[in-house]
Amino acid sequence: MTNLLNTILVTILVMNLFALGTSRILAVTRVVAAQGVLLGFIPLLVHKSLVMPVLLMAAAAISIKAILIPSIIVRALRDAQIKHEVKPLIGFLPSIILGAIATAFALLFAGQLPLAGNHYDTLLVPTAIATVLVGFIQLVTRYKAISQVIGYLILENGIFIFSMLLVEAMPLIVEMGVMLDLFVGIFVTCIIINHINQAFSSMDTRELVSLKE
C-alpha cells in the first residue's frame, strides 16, 4: 500500500517539475488534470476501508480537479487562441531548478517535522510542501493569467495532499479542499460567462498594472 502511495506521490513530484518546465499551457493543463486523477486515488489508498465519504471524496476530486476545471481552462485557451507562456519572469530551466531545490528542501524539511506514528513512512508531507512551493513558483514567475490560475491549482493540489493526513481522523474536512477547487471553478466560470474571457484568458498580467501607486 505504502509503496503504491509513494509511487504516486513521486509521480506527482515529477509532474510538478514538468509543469514548471514547459511553455505550452495546454500541456501544463493536462499535467494538472493528470495530477487531479492521481490525487483522486490517494484517499482510497490512505484510508484503510472504503467507506462512503471516502469514495465520494475521490469521485469529487477526480471530477472537479481532473475534468471540470481543466476543461474550462482548455475552453478558455481555445477561445483566446493562446498556446505558449512566452517569456516567464525567469526562464524555464531556472524554474525547474528552483522547483527541484524546493522539492529537495521539502524532503529534508519534512524529515524534521514531528509526525503522527504512521505518517513517517509515506511521502505525503514532503510532497505536499513541495507541491505548494511549486505552485507558488508557478504563480510568481508566470505572466499569463491562465498560467497563474494553473499555478494556483498546483498549490491547492499540495494542500489537498496534506489533507490526506487527516482523512482517517476527519474525513469530512477533506471536502474543504474540494470546496477550494469549487471556488476556483466558480470564479473562472463566472469570468467566462461574463463574456470577458477574451480579455481575460489572453490576458497578460503585465498589462494589468494600470492600478498602482
Binding site: 507558488f136 510568481v140 498580467t205 494589468l208 498594472v209 498602482k212 501607486e213
Partner: protein, 656 residues
C-alpha cells in the same frame, strides 16, 4: 455654582444654532450669547469664592475610564478670567470686523468655531480628569484650526493651518502618551496630586508635558505653527489664540507641575533656558518681520518665553525649597499671563483695524495712519508700552516680579543661591530692549510719518464696536499697571495651591512691595502731567508755526525715502543673524550712475523654513520611491505573501 460655569460652556458653543440667516442677526445673537455666557461664568467664579471648600463636580461617565470631574480652584480661576473676558470682546469686535454679510461663505462657520473655542478652553481649565481634559483640549485645538482657517480658499491660510494642525497633533500625541504614563504611574486618570510617584516617572511625565504643552504655548523650537497661523487667521481669532489659547499650554504645564513632585533642579533649569531662548529668539524674529500680524505672533512667543522664565524660576524654587523664588516666579508668570492676554488682544484687535484700513499686512506699505486713525493709534501706544514692559503699564508689573525673583536667586544676604539662574535676568533685559525696538518699529512705521505707498484715503478709525473692545483691554492694562496689588491675593493663593509652602506666613505681599509700583507709576504720571502743563503754559504765548519736516538739505524728498520698517530693523537683524539667518538679496552697486537695484531681506522662520519644511519636502520626495513596491503586478503581490510566510516561519522556528 459650577453649574453656572458649565452653562457658560454650553452657551458659548451654542450661538451657531441660534441663527441660520444671512443677516447680521445671527451674529449679534451669538455675541449676545457670548456676553451672557461670560457674565454667568464670571458670576460663577465670584460665587466660587464664597464657598468654603473648592467647588468640585463629579459625575460618573460611561467611558471605560475617567469621570466627568470639574473643579474650580484658584489656578483655574486665574486662567478662566481671560477665557471669559477676551473672547467676548473678540466677538463684539467680530461683529464689524467679520461681518456676516461680507463673508457669506465662512461667517457662520467662524462664529460657531469661535464659540466652541471659547467654551472648550473653559472646559480645559476646569477639567480634572485626563480623558475629559484631552477631549476638551482637542476640541479646542480643532476649533481653533477651523476658526483660523476661515479663509480656506487662500493657499497661504491652508498651508499655515496645516502646519498648525500637524503641530497641535504632535502635541496632543505627547499629551496622550503623558496621560497614559500618568495612568501607569498613579493608577488613575484623576488629576490629583501625585507626590508619591518615582522620580523617573515624574521626570518623563514632565518632559512629555513640556513638549506637549510647549507645542501649544509656542516654546521656541516647537513654535513653528504659531506665526503662520496667527498671521493668517482673522484678527479677533488671532487675538483669542494668542491671548488665551497659548495660555492653555502654560496652564497645562503649571497644572502638571503642581501635581508632580518637583525634586530635581534640572526641571527648573530646562524651563528657564527654554524660556530665555524662546524670549530672545521670539522677539528677534519679531523685529525681522514685515507682516504686522507675524510680528505680533512672534512677540507672543517672546511673552511665552517670559512666562516660562518665571515658571522655571518657580520650579527651581521648589526643588531648592525657596518660597520667595516660587512666589515671585510663579506669581510673575501668572500675572504676565493676564497681562499678555490684555495687551496682546488689544494689539491684535488694533492690527485688525489697521489691516481693514490699509488693506495690507505689510507694514512697509503703511505709514502716517495716525492722522486718520487717532483713536487706534492712542490705543496702540498703550498696548505697545505695556507689551514692552515699560512702566507705568501692566507689563512692567509682572516682569518686575520675575526680575525680583531672578535677583533673589543670587542668594541675597545669607540665603542660599542658585546664581546661574540669575543670569536669566540678562536675557530678560535683552528681551526688554528688543521689544522696545520691535514695537517702536511697528508703531513708527504704521502710524507715524507719512504714507509710503498710495495713501489710503478711506482709512479711518473703526466703528465703536471695534474701538470699545480695544479700549476695554487698554483700561485693563492701565488698571493692572497702576494697581497690581489687586491681583496679588489671587496670585498668592494660586501659588500656595501650586505648592504647599513650608511657612504659610510667606506671601507675595510680604516678599515684595507692590505698593511701590503704584506709587512710582502715579508719581511718573504726575510728573509727566506737570511737565506737560508747564510746557503748555510756556508756549501759550509763543508762536507755533507749522512747516515741513526738515529735509536735511535734500531738495525733493518723497515719502518713499522714509525709513521703512525693514531698514529700521536691519542693524538688529544683522546683529542677530546667527539666529535669524536672513536671506539677503543685495545687488552690487557699481559705477557713477547705477541702474535701478532692489534690496530685499527676508527672514524665514529658522526652525520651520530651514529645518522642518525641508525635512518634510525631502520625505515627500523620497518616500514615493517606496511605491515601486506596489507596481500593480499580481505575481509580485503573491511573492510578498510567500516571503512574509517564510520570514515568519523562520523567525518562529529560531525564536527571534
Amino acid at each position: 455654582m459650577i453649574l453656572a460655569a458649565i452653562a457658560v460652556l454650553g452657551f458659548s458653543g451654542l450661538p451657531v444654532f441660534l441663527f441660520s440667516l444671512r443677516s447680521a442677526m445671527g451674529q449679534r445673537l451669538a455675541a449676545v450669547c457670548m456676553v451672557l455666557g461670560s457674565v454667568i461664568g464670571l458670576a460663577g467664579i465670584a460665587a466660587s469664592f464664597y464657598e468654603a471648600v473648592v467647588p468640585t463636580l463629579c459625575l460618573p461617565w460611561f467611558l471605560p475610564w475617567g469621570q466627568f470631574v470639574i473643579t474650580i480652584d484658584i489656578i483655574s480661576v486665574l486662567f478662566l478670567v481671560p477665557v471669559f473676558i477676551i473672547p467676548v470682546f473678540g466677538s463684539i469686535y467680530g461683529l464689524r470686523y467679520w461681518k456676516q454679510s461680507e463673508h457669506l461663505e465662512n461667517g457662520r462657520r467662524l462664529v460657531f468655531f469661535y464659540g466652541a473655542l471659547a467654551g472648550s478652553m473653559a472646559l480645559v481649565v476646569v477639567a480634572r480628569d485626563a480623558v475629559l481634559f484631552l477631549i476638551a483640549w482637542e476640541i479646542m485645538a480643532i476649533a481653533a484650526y477651523f476658526a483660523a482657517t476661515a479663509e480656506d480658499d487662500n493657499p497661504d491660510v491652508c498651508r499655515a493651518g496645516w502646519v498648525y494642525l500637524i503641530a497641535t497633533h504632535i502635541g496632543t500625541l505627547c499629551l496622550i502618551a503623558m496621560f497614559a504614563l500618568w495612568l501607569h504611574a498613579t493608577g488613575s486618570f484623576a488629576l490629583n496630586s501625585a507626590q508619591g510617584i518615582s522620580a523617573g516617572a515624574a521626570g518623563t511625565i514632565f518632559v512629555l508635558s513640556l513638549i506637549g504643552f510647549g507645542f501649544k504655548a509656542g516654546i521656541m523650537p516647537l513654535h513653528v505653527w504659531l506665526p503662520g497661523a496667527h498671521a493668517n487667521a482673522p484678527s479677533h481669532v488671532s487675538a483669542v489664540m494668542s491671548a488665551v489659547m497659548l495660555k492653555m499650554g502654560v496652564y497645562g504645564l503649571i497644572r502638571m507641575t503642581a501635581l508632580l513632585p518637583v525634586t530635581a533642579a534640572w526641571w527648573g533649569c530646562v524651563v528657564l533656558i527654554a524660556g530665555a531662548i524662546t524670549g530672545v529668539a521670539g522677539i528677534a524674529f519679531a523685529i525681522s518681520q514685515n507682516d504686522i500680524k507675524r510680528m505680533l505672533a512672534y512677540s507672543s512667543i517672546e511673552n511665552i518665553g517670559i512666562i516660562m522664565i518665571g515658571l522655571g524660576l518657580a520650579l527651581l524654587g521648589r526643588s531648592q525649597n525657596q518660597p520667595e523664588w516660587i512666589l515671585l516666579g510663579l506669581g510673575g508668570s501668572l500675572l504676565h499671563v493676564w497681562n499678555h492676554s490684555l495687551f496682546k488682544s488689544l494689539l491684535f484687535f488694533n492690527a485688525g483695524a489697521i489691516i481693514h484700513a490699509s488693506h495690507t499686512r505689510n507694514i512697509d506699505q503703511m505709514g502716517g495712519l495716525a492722522k486718520q486713525m487717532p483713536w487706534s493709534m492712542a490705543l496702540f501706544v498703550v498696548g505697545a508700552v505695556a507689551i514692552c514692559a515699560l512702566p507705568p503699564l501692566n507689563g512692567f508689573a509682572s516682569e518686575w516680579l520675575i526680575y525680583s525673583g531672578l535677583f533673589h536667586t543670587l542668594g541675597l544676604g545669607d540665603g542660599p543661591g542658585f546664581p546661574v539662574a540669575a543670569i536669566a535676568a540678562v536675557p530678560l533685559a535683552i528681551i526688554g530692549a528688543l521689544a522696545v525696538a520691535c514695537f517702536v518699529k511697528i508703531f513708527g512705521t504704521v502710524f507715524l510719518g507719512t504714507a509710503r505707498c498710495e495713501p489710503v484715503n478711506d482709512a479711518h478709525d473703526p466703528s465703536a464696536s471695534m474701538i470699545v473692545p480695544m479700549a476695554a483691554m487698554a483700561m485693563g492694562c492701565v488698571c493692572i499697571g497702576l494697581f497690581p496689588m489687586i491681583a496679588a491675593s489671587w496670585l498668592d493663593s494660586a501659588v500656595k495651591l501650586w505648592v504647599s509652602l513650608p511657612e504659610q506666613t510667606v506671601s507675595l505681599t510680604t516678599v515684595v512691595r507692590l505698593g511701590w509700583i503704584t506709587k512710582m507709576n502715579l508719581a511718573f504720571i504726575v510728573l509727566v502731567a506737570i511737565i506737560a502743563f508747564a510746557l503748555k503754559k510756556l508756549v501759550r504765548t509763543k508762536v507755533i508755526s507749522e512747516a515741513g519736516t526738515w529735509d536735511c538739505g535734500y531738495a525733493q524728498p518723497v515719502t518713499r525715502i522714509q525709513y521703512t520698517g525693514s531698514s529700521f530693523g536691519q542693524i538688529l537683524v544683522n546683529l542677530f543673524a546667527f539666529i535669524l539667518w536672513p536671506k539677503i538679496h543685495f545687488p552690487a552697486i557699481r559705477g557713477l550712475f547705477p541702474r535701478v537695484a532692489h534690496f530685499k531681506i527676508i527672514v524665514p522662520d529658522t526652525v520651520l523654513d530651514r529645518l522642518v519644511l525641508p525635512l518634510f519636502k525631502t520625505a515627500g520626495r523620497n518616500l514615493p520611491w517606496l511605491r515601486v513596491l506596489q507596481q500593480g503586478q499580481t505575481h509580485l503581490y503573491v511573492l510578498y505573501i510567500l516571503v512574509i510566510l517564510i520570514i515568519l516561519l523562520i523567525c518562529g522556528t529560531i525564536g527571534v
